[in-house]
């Protein structure tokens, strides 16, 4: 395609009106409320639904919610998650009838693309994309977050269903 260029007229060739128009924009913003933040002293508080770093959570009773089903590992597009299942001789799970818990759970935050698919797929509501967006480390290894760190950063999730506890209660009520 050929774009036809119109020759500039006399006023345009002077450039002064264009410079003036530019100044007008600057001047208008000069008197507006400032939006620039003094990062990192000042930090942006992101909205609730922001998709930041994925962390593991505990329920209000302090139990690890993750049962090591490895669905998030499967769904993760950049393969940032790697889980070591407990195997037959692993330590007992926090909730006895949930039977298992991850022995190790690693998220490589350098690989993570913060897509939120792990949170979406998790059948146990154990992993959430929290509001952390500034992840720093001095080397690559530091950016691979391990289970205990993820649990600590994730904090507590108020679980209104507590399905394992409910199942345990139900079963106990049916004991002959």
């Amino acid at each position: 395609m050929i774009v036809k260029r119109n020759p500039l007229n006399w006023a345009e060739r002077l450039y002064l009106p264009a410079v003036w128009n530019g100044f007008k924009v600057t001047l208008r913003h000069f008197f507006r409320r400032k939006v620039t933040m003094q990062y990192p002293e000042e930090r942006w508080v992101v909205p609730q639904a922001y998709r930041g770093a994925p962390y593991l959570v505990r329920d209000q009773n302090g139990n690890t919610k993750c049962v090591s089903c490895q669905l998030c590992e499967f769904v993760c597009p950049p393969k940032a998650i790697s889980i070591t299942p407990p195997g037959p001789d692993g330590p007992p799970a926090d909730r006895r009838n949930a039977e298992k818990m991850p022995l190790e759970f690693k998220i490589n935050m350098l690989r993570c693309i913060f897509c939120g698919l792990c949170e979406e797929v998790c059948p146990e509501e154990a992993i959430f994309l929290k509001r952390d967006y500034a992840l720093v480390g001095t080397n690559r290894q530091e950016m691979v977050y391990a289970r205990d760190k993820l649990l600590e950063l994730g904090g507590t999730h108020q679980d209104h269903i507590l399905k394992w506890e409910r199942m345990e209660r139900e079963a106990a009520a049916q004991e002959p």
């Binding site: 089903c69 499967f74 059948p123 199942m167």
Partner: protein
């Protein structure tokens, strides 16, 4: 325990995918529907005419009236089922396979009435029938896609799920669970059940290798029928009634026969799970490689489940000519040594010139080249593949060496486990490496070393200090060349130590006690310096003989088949997944036809 014989010579070969277990079970092309052979029946499945034999093999391989399920499979129409299994007696209790059907209307002359279009007039039965146990009759019409059938399947699944715990996130079966699959394919998306579910025992220890979760059990009785009718160990049963029905083992007697882990594969849900594989890995991460069990001479076909270079489980692979759908627990669990931390992963030996294969092989080749004829002996292993044994044979011929291998035997059972615990004794005999009887040359080797006539010994995958060639004798040798996977007293004395591979780390073929040649494929990479034996043997034989040998396993097998009379006519590609049987010259108690 009195194991019964496996149903042998069955016409059906099940595909590895369970859904198609019945689909390969019949022959469709029996001529055009207009002229059915005398022993065939024409039925219509969803309006499509198929000709099926009147009789088809049942679970024992005996001919029995063809069922609707087999007819549907012949028509390539999927019918879901839980309790049916082509290699188990039919129980007909799950009702998942319900279909609607109709039979031809008979006129007053007792002949089928035909409509104006010449087609049979069908009288649709008011009641459905279970496809797995209902024999077909001539002219029958089967419907699997009607709204009625759809509602029945939804109903059956709703009942099955009513008391199901839905604990898929912690269930080892998830990903290969038929309840999950059929719920997606045929079930409803939401549950209407608002009452409290019946709770049953969970994490029940019913045997040394099995954990039972009764809440997940759908009471199909496959496990009961397997252990009672095939193994002959009537260990499992159902107690209580209705929604309280509970699978259990005989009180005070653990469910511990040597075939118990097959019930884990059989169980369509996660009620029976393996203690060994428990919480090891989700099955969808497993890479499945076709292999053969190397724990005895039967050579059961297996799938090797591995992830990230770790073998995590063996499961039986269907082969009607060898192991049916089963394998023994001993063979299934015999894989842990592959990952033992003390494996030989480095080239070694006291005369290793440099830690690299070319240098190590050159040193071995020059040691052998200078050895005078008849001063060399070879101990081959009957655990090696045919290709490796073939190359060893070539080496023995070039060096004028005597050879033998080491027999390994144990108590056979009356089903799959054979007395010969070597996976390839037949191969060792076929290639003329084993003496007759196997192992009878080894005392002669000892004598040779003692008198000083035997100066060079090659040992592959055997600890010869345990069969008469003690450390004192080995110390007398001028050259001891050893290839092995795990360290032992023989490898400790080696002048040249070449790290080898487990069967799951290489390709090749094995010949079982009945002469069936079966292929294995590499599931994982060998660790460290370890190399498949056939690769370095090939280099060694080429260096010593000057002849070229193919550098692919296909080529090597095909050359071997042309070279060895017993294997004439075989081709790597033609072996397929099920293998082919070659005639065996000598009969041992193990390869007597049963």
């Amino acid at each position: 325990m009195t194991p019964t014989h496996p149903p042998s010579g069955m016409a059906r070969e099940s595909a590895s995918s369970f859904r198609h277990e019945v689909s390969g079970s019949s022959s469709t092309a029996l001529g055009s529907p207009s002229t059915p052979p005398a022993d065939a029946i024409v039925v219509t499945v969803n309006g499509q005419k198929v000709v099926v034999p009147r009789l088809m093999p049942d679970w024992t391989g005996k001919l029995a009236p063809t069922t609707m399920l087999q007819a549907c499979a012949a028509a390539k129409v999927d019918v879901p089922f839980y309790c049916y299994h082509p290699r188990l007696p039919v129980a007909g209790n799950c009702r998942m396979c319900l279909v609607e059907y109709g039979t031809p209307v008979l006129g007053p002359d007792r002949h089928a009435v035909r409509g104006p279009d010449g087609e049979l007039v069908i009288n649709k039965s008011p009641r459905p029938a279970i496809a797995c146990a209902t024999p077909i009759t001539s002219g029958m019409a089967i419907y699997t896609d009607t709204p009625g059938v759809k509602r029945m399947r939804e109903g059956v699944l709703e009942f099955l799920l009513a008391n199901h715990p839905l604990d898929c996130p912690i269930c080892d079966k998830a990903g290969e669970c038929r309840l999950q699959e059929y719920s997606v394919d045929y079930g409803e998306s939401a549950s209407r059940f608002v009452e409290t579910k019946v709770h049953k025992p969970k994490q029940v220890d019913i045997g040394p290798r099995i954990v039972l979760d009764d809440e997940r059990c759908i009471l199909c009785t496959r496990c009961i029928r397997f252990t009672r009718d095939l193994v002959g160990d009537d260990a499992l049963g159902i107690v209580n009634r209705g929604s309280y029905s509970t699978l259990t083992h005989y009180p005070g007697r653990p469910f511990d026969n040597n075939y118990s882990l097959n019930t884990v594969d059989l169980c369509p849900v996660g009620a029976l799970t393996s203690k060994d594989f428990r919480f090891q890995m989700r099955v969808w991460f497993l890479k499945e490689t076709k292999g053969v069990c190397t724990s005895c001479g039967t050579g059961c076909n297996i799938l090797i489940g591995s992830r990230e270079n770790r073998v995590l489980r063996y499961t039986p692979r269907d082969n009607g000519a060898v192991n049916g759908s089963w394998m023994c627990d001993t063979g299934r669990l015999n894989y842990k040594w592959i990952h033992r931390p003390d494996r030989i992963v480095k080239l070694g030996g006291s005369r290793l010139p440099a830690p690299a294969w070319p240098a190590a092989l050159a040193a071995v080749a020059s040691a052998l080249r200078n050895a005078p004829p008849s001063s060399v002996a070879i101990v081959a292993s009957a655990r090696q593949t045919n290709e490796e044994l073939y190359l060893l044979r070539k080496l023995a011929q070039r060096l004028g060496a005597v050879s033998d291998s080491v027999p390994r035997s144990g108590e056979p059972d009356r089903w799959l486990v054979s007395a010969d615990r070597n996976p390839n004794s037949a191969g060792a005999r076929l290639f003329g490496l084993a003496a007759d009887p196997m192992g009878s040359n080894v005392p002669r080797f000892a004598q040779g070393i003692r008198t000083g006539s035997l100066k060079t010994l090659l040992v592959f995958g055997e600890d010869v200090t345990r069969c008469g060639l003690g450390a004192d004798l080995l110390a007398k040798l001028e050259t001891l060349i050893v290839s092995d996977v795990l360290p032992n007293p023989t490898t400790a004395l080696a002048h040249h130590l070449l790290p080898g591979c487990a069967a799951v780390e290489k390709r090749g073929s094995f010949t079982n006690v009945h002469g069936r040649v079966q292929r294995v494929f590499a599931a994982i990479d060998p660790p460290g310096d370890a190399r498949p034996e056939w690769e370095f043997l090939r280099d060694l034989v080429m260096a010593l003989t000057g002849h070229a040998f193919p550098d692919t396993i296909e080529g090597l097998f095909n050359q071997m088949a042309g070279d060895v009379p017993a294997l004439h006519g075989l081709e790597w590609a033609a072996l397929g997944d099920a293998g082919l049987t070659v005639p065996m010259q000598s009969r041992t108690p193990d390869n007597e036809p049963r």
